[in-house]
């Protein structure tokens, strides 16, 4: 088999799988452009003309507010998580201190613990602190993110030459200065990758908001979509459009970030 034939064969194999990956999206998008009754009567394959009407139905449920809440939660979670993880990773990767290996072992162990373990008490703690009527309980769990610390430590071990840190200190740069001026510049790929992952996970988080958020004005996207289902049980088309709208921001984010996301993974901790 010559190489042109191989190229055609391999590319068509991938293309076929891509259709499998895309088909549910396509059906979802198309269904959102039809009138509800049409969905029950026939197979819809090309976009319909009812998009604007469905958009109005979705807008009537204050979906913009839901968007805004999700954005606040995800951006805050990402910034705090990446910052705190990078701080801790710097200590583990580039400093010596007592019980370092034991503490790092404890961090690895917490990665194995399912997030639901402390859930019952976390909800009570938030009520006790008086923040359960705000978005804070959805942001805070991401601040102490064991996966982030592990990720940053592994990356920094390989990516930052110790000599550069030493010479900066010789020149009289403070340790905090070293972190912000030098370390951050070296770990740019790790920051991108971790940011995308934390943003994605917090954007998609469902269980915690489901338990802790009881005011519709604080709903995030996953809750907003399910409540669209409740309010418009009969209007399937509007609900499907809501699904599509809730998916778009992360699609855009990964469409633009996927190159540096993969580069960060490659350079990062999969080395084992």
């Amino acid at each position: 088999m010559n190489s042109t034939a191989r190229t055609t064969l391999a590319t068509s194999a991938i293309a076929l799988l891509s259709i499998f990956a895309l088909l549910p999206f396509y059906i979802m998008i198309v269904m959102g452009t039809y009138q509800n009754e049409d969905l029950f009567q026939r197979i819809v394959l090309i976009p319909g003309h009812y998009l604007w009407e469905n958009l109005k139905t979705v807008a009537a449920s204050r979906f913009d507010l839901v968007y805004w809440n999700s954005l606040i939660v995800s951006v805050a979670s990402t910034l705090l998580s990446v910052f705190v993880s990078a701080f801790a990773g710097f200590a583990f990767a580039k400093h010596e201190f007592k019980y370092k290996n034991k503490i790092f072992g404890a961090v690895l162990l917490t990665m194995m613990i399912p997030g639901q373990l402390g859930l019952v008490a976390y909800v009570i703690e938030m009520r006790y602190l008086g923040v359960s009527g705000t978005l804070l309980p959805l942001i805070m769990p991401w601040i102490a993110n064991a996966f982030g610390v592990f990720w940053m430590t592994q990356f920094m071990k390989g990516a930052i030459p110790t000599e550069v840190l030493e010479s900066a200190r010789m020149d009289g740069c403070s340790d905090i200065g070293v972190f912000f001026r030098i370390v951050l510049a070296f770990i740019y790929p790790a920051i991108t990758t971790l940011s995308l992952l934390v943003f994605l996970w917090s954007w998609n988080n469902y269980l915690l908001p489901l338990i802790i958020i009881n005011k519709p004005e604080l709903y995030t996207i996953p809750l907003g979509i399910t409540s669209l289902g409740n309010a418009y049980r009969t209007d399937l088309a509007a609900q499907i459009l809501g699904l599509t709208l809730g998916t778009i921001p992360v699609l855009i984010l990964f469409a633009f970030g996927s190159k540096s996301f993969i580069r960060g993974l490659t350079a990062g901790s999969v080395k084992g």
């Binding site: 969905l39 469902y206 338990i211 399910t226 990964f254």
Partner: protein
């Protein structure tokens, strides 16, 4: 540079993480254990009941072991599929025979980033017996006489969950295999080619063994992540999911009740038994610990 002065530096960088971990992670985990030893509905006072919540997990009425079994079944059926397909696509994408690599990478990764809630609802719509796309297509081509009640049958419902999880996850394993392939030195395969090894042979004897760390990473995170399964089956079978009483919790004959769904339903759904809910969470943790322990032992055994 004064070394005595710099001793606090690592602790300074470590302190935000440790502080927040203690307040937001450790304290709830310890307090949840205390809750698991009590009978509590969140309103009236707690009564200390010792280990009786844990004993109740062994009672079939708690659905604990049934839900663990369901979850394990989903992991055992989905993970191998995801690994085989993820590796196959990654190898194809990494070879020189595929065009538009970045484009195909993104497309196949897209399902992973969709909100799990949306995935559940999407498949709920596709397999709806009345308005569902799948039934309509099958009817159109005359393959079936009348719509199949996909979500009302235990075997079909489980099949759909496996399909859904596979669809969602194969791109994720693909990305990690791609990252792993990029870390394998190119000259190893070139040397093998010079020595006359076939493409298949060098894949089997060079690439695959070198991908072992990635494989371990995917299997361990896959099992841990798999045990957290909740949204997709909940939305697939419950529709709205918000404590809807119309659907049986866990689908037909509770065949798709996952452990976390069971915990949610016990503590916040059809009952408010916080103590039992916390005990389910701890029971799950013990099971994950056993699997992690076996995994680590197997890995060590290989190295020796």
């Amino acid at each position: 540079m004064n070394t005595a002065k710099r001793k606090w530096v690592p602790y300074f960088f470590l302190s935000p993480y440790l502080l927040f971990y203690v307040v937001l992670g450790l304290i709830p985990i310890v307090f949840s254990f205390y809750v698991s030893l009590t009978n509590w509905d969140g309103i009236s006072g707690k009564t200390f009941v010792g280990l009786s919540n844990y004993k109740f997990l062994f009672n079939p009425d708690s659905y604990f072991f049934q839900s663990v079994g369901n979850t394990l079944l989903f992991i055992a059926m989905t993970l191998p599929l995801q690994i085989i397909f993820g590796l196959a696509i990654a190898s194809l994408l990494y070879s020189q025979f595929v065009k538009w690599k970045a484009f195909f990478q993104l497309i196949n990764f897209l399902p992973y980033i969709v909100t799990p809630v949306a995935v559940g609802l999407m498949f709920n719509l596709l397999f709806d017996w009345q308005a569902g796309f799948v039934n309509k297509v099958l009817l159109h081509f005359g393959l079936i006489e009348e719509g199949i009640y996909w979500l009302g049958d235990p075997v079909y419902a489980r099949m759909i969950i496996v399909l859904m999880l596979f669809w969602k996850g194969f791109g994720y394993t693909m990305i990690f295999f791609l990252a792993g392939l990029a870390n394998i030195p190119k000259d190893l395969n070139e040397a093998a080619q010079v020595d006359g090894a076939s493409g298949f042979r060098s894949f089997w004897s060079i690439t695959l063994p070198l991908l072992k760390p990635v494989m371990t990473f995917i299997i361990i995170t896959g099992i841990i992540g798999g045990f957290q399964l909740l949204e997709e089956p909940m939305l697939l079978l419950g529709g709205s999911g918000m404590g809807s009483s119309s659907a049986v919790i866990g689908g037909p004959e509770r065949c798709c009740l996952t452990t976390v769904w069971n915990m949610y339903d016990t503590a916040y759904g059809s009952t408010t038994r916080y103590g039992l809910g916390a005990a389910i969470a701890y029971g799950l943790c013990v099971i994950i610990a056993i699997f992690s322990f076996i995994g680590v032992r197997l890995q060590r055994g290989d190295q020796e």
